[in-house]
């Protein structure tokens, strides 16, 4: 009896705290039916926001994956002075407020920033333009690939790499054919976390974007504009789409596990 009471309390709490919010997103989007909801997605500013979000995510994934892999190699295959300081530094963006992550780029490239005015004079626009949005997103997503790779590559040790080296392989061959195949799942997971965060980032991007509809609005910023403009159905439709994109990236991390389990079941 006591057991059922505990189950009821737990599921009640899960329902209120964790299940209701995603339900609200979908219900609000479909308030007037599916047709009006889909109609709102035809808005050119909304389409521009979706494209910008995909663009920014792609840049963040490419840059932070390439540098993340090289940094993970450096941090796990060598012991050198300053290594632990680098480890702390690489994780720092995770403990910085999103707003501050945007602010730092204004201090460097804003109208009153250190280099903003001279770059502006040379015709290079960073703050309140797409490059600023990219910088802010690159900053907040910097840690994910490194921090998922480091524990795994640390565990792998260096034996296979040293053997490959003695067999005459060069750096890229070792990285590509020896180290990364073993770290595939962790790398995949880090890339997916980068993707989810890049698509959903709001605070950092909001500070540097300038909120120009159709030009510098990503999906989260466009959701804010729509919501504040009382276009509830449009706001929640875009929110449903964004949440679905970010959450499928997060859930996809379990895919290698499912595949392995199914293969195991067949064998």
């Amino acid at each position: 009896m006591k057991k059922y009471l505990l189950w009821a309390i737990t599921w009640g709490l899960i329902g209120i705290v964790l299940l209701m919010p995603p339900a609200v997103v979908v219900v609000e989007a479909l308030k007037n039916g599916l047709g009006p909801a889909l109609e709102t997605l035809k808005d050119p500013d909304g389409i521009a926001a979706i494209w910008l979000t995909l663009e920014v995510s792609l840049v963040s994934i490419s840059v932070n994956t390439i540098f993340g892999v090289l940094a993970a190699w450096l941090l796990t295959k060598y012991r050198f002075p300053g290594r632990s300081a680098l480890l702390v530094l690489v994780e720092l963006p995770l403990s910085i407020s999103p707003v501050v992550s945007g602010l730092v780029w204004l201090l460097l490239f804003g109208a009153q920033g250190w280099w903003g005015p001279s770059l502006e004079a040379a015709g290079i626009h960073i703050a309140f333009a797409v490059p600023g949005i990219m910088l802010a997103t690159l900053f907040v997503t910097l840690p994910y690939v490194v921090r998922t790779l480091v524990p795994l590559m640390e565990q792998q040790g260096c034996d296979a790499e040293e053997a490959a080296m003695l067999a005459g392989a060069n750096f890229w061959q070792i990285l590509w054919h020896v180290t990364l195949p073993g770290a595939r799942v962790a790398l995949f997971s880090g890339i997916l976390l980068t993707t989810a965060r890049a698509m959903g980032e709001f605070g950092a991007v909001s500070v540097v974007s300038g909120h120009i509809p159709g030009l510098t609005e990503t999906m989260p910023l466009h959701i804010e504009s729509l919501y504040n403009g009382y276009q509830t159905v449009a706001a929640f439709t875009m929110a449903t789409l964004l949440a679905a994109m970010a959450m499928s990236a997060v859930l996809l991390r379990s895919a290698p596990e499912w595949i392995a389990r199914r293969r195991g079941a067949q064998a």
Binding site: T10, L70, M165, G200, A239
Partner: protein
């Protein structure tokens, strides 16, 4: 000194190729994306002179906003401790029906983009919301006031508590609870002395992580907060307001305080865990 330098240049004792390349790439990457912004953040408040910094310290609106952020983050993290412990316990020991779904749902606040959480919580707890309307009938106002901030921070902070408590609870031998019962311990004694005591370091960690996240949280809070200066305005929002007023020094001063508080909270977590650790470092 010279030995440390030569070790830094050669990459310690490892003979693996690629040290210089990966070192150069990592220094370039962290230098531009982390060290440079940190330098700008640290130097900017002093750029307009000492007078500007002193002036900043007389800004009562800033202190009100910082107080709102710190107190709401602390309250939310505190409320999350029993809630997170119950969820972790249900996931590990409760044989909860549908525990696979419950397990996935626990990570939802981390996966949901903050702007989506923000407009959703504001709607859910708003005057016409599923939860806001019945609460309003009871005379409880959540949205557009301080309780709304706490609710939003509880939502984003919950996974941190559950996910730090869960692994420790999993490693706790179940026999201990049975042994305590056989020795005549009352259920209450078992919970406080046998289950909760070894969880203390994990609870402190969960509290610290949730607090550090809550202090800087922006997107999930601003829609539900009401954002009235001196009352329900959070510090990250005041950073944005100051930037819109082109008061870069003022914005940076608040940003620095926020950053130092998060780092201090995380450092204290590390210290406290070592001090209260009963079963070794399990979390």
């Amino acid at each position: 000194m010279q030995r440390a330098f030569s070790s830094f240049v050669r990459g310690g004792n490892s003979a693996l190729p690629g040290y210089k390349l990966s070192l150069a790439a990592t220094l370039l990457w962290t230098g531009f994306f982390i060290i440079l912004p940190l330098i700008a953040l640290t130097l900017r408040p002093w750029q307009d002179g000492i007078g500007a910094v002193v002036n900043e310290l007389h800004d009562t609106r800033m202190f009100a906003a910082l107080w709102t952020s710190f107190s709401s983050a602390a309250l939310a993290a505190l409320f999350n401790i029993p809630l997170g412990m119950l969820l972790a316990w249900a996931l590990v020991r409760g044989n909860l029906p549908g525990s696979g779904l419950a397990n996935a749902l626990v990570d939802l606040p981390l996966a949901l983009p903050t702007a989506v959480s923000g407009i959703t919580l504001a709607t859910l707890y708003g005057p016409q919301g599923w939860l806001g309307a019945p609460l309003a009938k009871l005379g409880i106002v959540v949205a557009y006031s301080k309780p709304g901030i706490v609710i939003a921070l509880m939502f984003v902070g919950l996974p941190f508590v559950v996910r730090t408590v869960e692994p420790v609870l999993k490693n706790l031998p179940r026999d201990l609870e049975e042994a305590a019962a056989l020795l005549g311990a009352r259920p209450w004694q078992i919970i406080t002395r046998v289950v909760i005591a070894p969880l203390v370091p994990a609870l402190i960690t969960g509290f610290g992580l949730a607090f550090a996240r809550g202090v800087g949280e922006y997107g999930s809070v601003i829609f539900i907060a009401g954002n009235q200066p001196f009352h329900s305005e959070i510090a990250p929002l005041l950073v944005v307001v100051r930037l819109q007023e082109f008061d870069y020094s003022g914005a940076t001063a608040i940003a620095l305080i926020l950053l130092l508080t998060s780092l201090l909270a995380l450092a204290l977590v590390g210290l406290a865990r070592r001090k209260f650790s009963v079963w070794g470092d399990g979390a």
